[in-house]
Structures are given as structure tokens and as C-alpha cells.
Point group: C2
Chain length 203, copies 2
């Protein structure tokens, strides 16, 4: 094992591996890169290379210990501990996200939700009470360092600024706007319409 910076593309694939391995861990104990590759449709040497970035622990002739691998990937992704996240903007998309149980699989807990619409404040979705946006600053005290932005485009930047001020370290942004934030804060943007816009090119 050598010290390597992990390539971004590998970081992008790690959650894919993790999801597949979590599924497989119910059925098997070991798996070869070849079998895993077939299961999630990637190249097998790609997998071995990715794993090699954070240490070699496969056994030649046998493969990888699935549970050990899961632990290792979680550790690399910093998912060994559960993370709390806050949702800002409990509109159409925000409500869907609040209702979605699939984040638990990776150890996420959407522990708070905020909106600025008095009609929505106080309502509960999936056991999370929607709070007034002015309470954002409680996030630090509540040890919530991730946030999901689902407010309209024009409110996105100011929301991001407020989140940064509240000590948030990572933002998942659904608004179709390039949000600027200090370098120490990581922003990942999912622009759904833009993905759709890519589709006609291929047909």
C-alpha cells in the first residue's frame, strides 16, 4: 500500500460500490473484483485499482471480504459516523426529499427542515417539524453540518450564505444556479433540468 490522493472519479464510484456491497453482504462473505464488476457493470481492473488507492486487503485466489470492504469504503467516504443534514425549502422537491427513506442507507439523518412560508412552518413531514428560516443559526449547536438547498433559484445564494454562516460544511444544491461558497465548503449541485437537456443529444 502506498499513499495516494484518491482521484475524483474514484470518489464518485465509491458510493456505487458501497451500495452494491451492502446488498451483497446479505448473501455472501467474499467477492472477487470480477463478480462485483459484473454485478454493477464496471470493469474489474477498474475496481481493483480503485480499491488499491486506499490499501490492499484482497486475498489472491479468494477475493475481498465484503464486510471489511464496506467498513473501509465507509471510512474513506467519511461515512463511518452517521451524518445529520438540514433541508432548506420544504416545497415540492423539498417535501419529496423529506419523505424519502433512502438516505439512511448511507447513514444520513435529515434532522431539520426550514422554510420562510408561515403556512408551512410548524407542519411535520416524516417526523421532522418545519422551522422558520430565521432559526438556521441553531444548526451549529445541533451539530448539523450538511444541508440540502431546495429553495427557488433567486433565494439560493442567500440561503447558501446563511448556511455557511451557520457553520455548514457541505451543501447539496438543487437550484439551477452556480452557488459560490468559501473553498472550505463543498457544494455539489444537481441540476435536474440540465441532465434532461443532455438527453436529446443522444437520440
Amino acid at each position: 500500500m502506498k499513499y495516494h490522493r484518491i482521484p475524483d472519479e474514484t470518489v464518485r464510484r465509491l458510493p456505487v460500490y458501497l451500495r452494491g456491497l451492502l446488498f451483497l453482504s446479505d448473501h455472501k462473505q467474499n467477492i472477487s473484483s470480477r463478480n462485483l464488476a459484473d454485478f454493477i457493470s464496471v470493469n474489474d481492473s477498474q475496481i481493483r485499482k480503485d480499491f488499491s488507492y486506499f490499501g490492499a486487503f484482497g486475498t489472491p485466489g479468494v477475493g475481498y471480504d465484503i464486510r471489511k470492504l464496506i467498513r473501509q469504503i465507509k471510512k474513506m467516504l467519511n461515512l463511518s459516523v452517521s451524518h445529520k443534514a438540514a433541508l432548506v425549502g420544504a416545497g415540492n422537491l423539498g417535501s419529496a426529499i423529506l419523505a424519502y427513506p433512502g438516505f439512511r442507507m448511507y447513514g444520513f439523518d435529515i434532522a431539520a427542515a426550514f422554510d420562510n412560508d408561515p403556512k408551512k412552518i410548524g407542519r411535520e413531514i416524516n417526523n421532522v417539524r418545519i422551522e422558520d428560516i430565521s432559526s438556521l443559526r441553531t444548526l451549529e449547536r445541533r451539530k448539523i453540518s450538511l444541508a440540502i438547498i431546495a429553495v427557488p433559484r433567486d433565494a439560493a445564494q442567500q440561503t447558501a450564505d446563511a448556511l455557511v454562516k451557520a457553520g455548514v460544511k457541505g451543501i447539496l444544491n438543487f437550484s439551477p444556479l452556480r452557488i459560490t461558497a468559501p473553498k472550505k465548503v463543498k457544494v455539489i449541485t444537481i441540476d435536474i433540468a440540465m441532465e434532461l437537456a443532455r438527453l436529446p443529444y443522444y437520440i
Copy 2:
């Protein structure tokens, strides 16, 4: 101008340029690659190279004619004509997508919605009536060749198969499953939880 295959990475950036340019077209007539680069945070020679793949039409000393550029990018992305899309799965996420007006910007029209839940069939969201999933085969006749999958994971593959059979050529998939489809059908998957899972790595 020479004949080039357009790299995938460029295709991924074209909608970004398009969005920025649509915004800028309200304010200016021309823009240099440098200014556009600042606006959307990419490298300026990247932009020039990307544009060069589909023909040179900038003016040295002046920059690019924004409206011409928009036309050209739309043409490359096959967005010059408006596209109809169908939504399958009018649950939490699907309803949010149906209600979202932002797809029009790229010329998309969500013209149909399907579900298999009798309670949902017949309801209307944003002037689109939810139809029974068994009517999927009408898509071809209605000239709908794009689809958005927002059904639960376990129904995703069968939904995709049915869509392919109904003549759909491109699929935007929200289920956390790697869908397999014939090569002639392009599938783009957005796995929201997976994007979130990537966030803690960077913090």
C-alpha cells in the same frame, strides 16, 4: 472548422453554457470566452475548444454573438425543436417534477404522466392527467420519445423495459438502480442519495 466527434465531457458542459447564455442574452449582445468563463467558472480556453467542435463563429477582438451561440448550441444538443416527455411514477418526487416549470427553458414539455395506483390515476397536476400505466403503449402514437422514471427501485427495470417497448429513446432515471436498456436507448441516472454520500468525503 473540421469534423469532430464531440467529446462526452463537452456535451455535459453545453447545457451549462446554454443556461448561462440564456441568462446573459437579456443583457448583452456579445461575449468573450473570457467573460463567459468568469461567469460560469470554467477555463476560457476550455470554452473556445468546446465551441470549436461544432464550428467557429466567434469574431476575434469581439467575442461571440450570444443569440447565434444559443441557436448553435441548441442545434448541437438537438434542442432546437421542443421535446415531449412522459413521467412514470407520480409519487413524491414525480409530483414535484410535474409541478416544476423549469423544463420549459430547454424546450421540454412534460406531456403525459403514468402511475399504477388507482388512487392517483385520473388526478391532475399542472394540467397533466395521470393515466394508467397500461396506457404506456400510446406514447409512440403521441410522439413522446423521452421519459422520466420516478417509480420505486424494484419497479424501475420493468418500467424501463415497457418504455423501450413503447418506443422511448431516452430515459432520465431517478431510481437508485443501474437500468439496462438496448444501446440505442440512452439512460441518464440521477441518484440523489449517492450524490449526498459523496459530500462527507470533502469535509
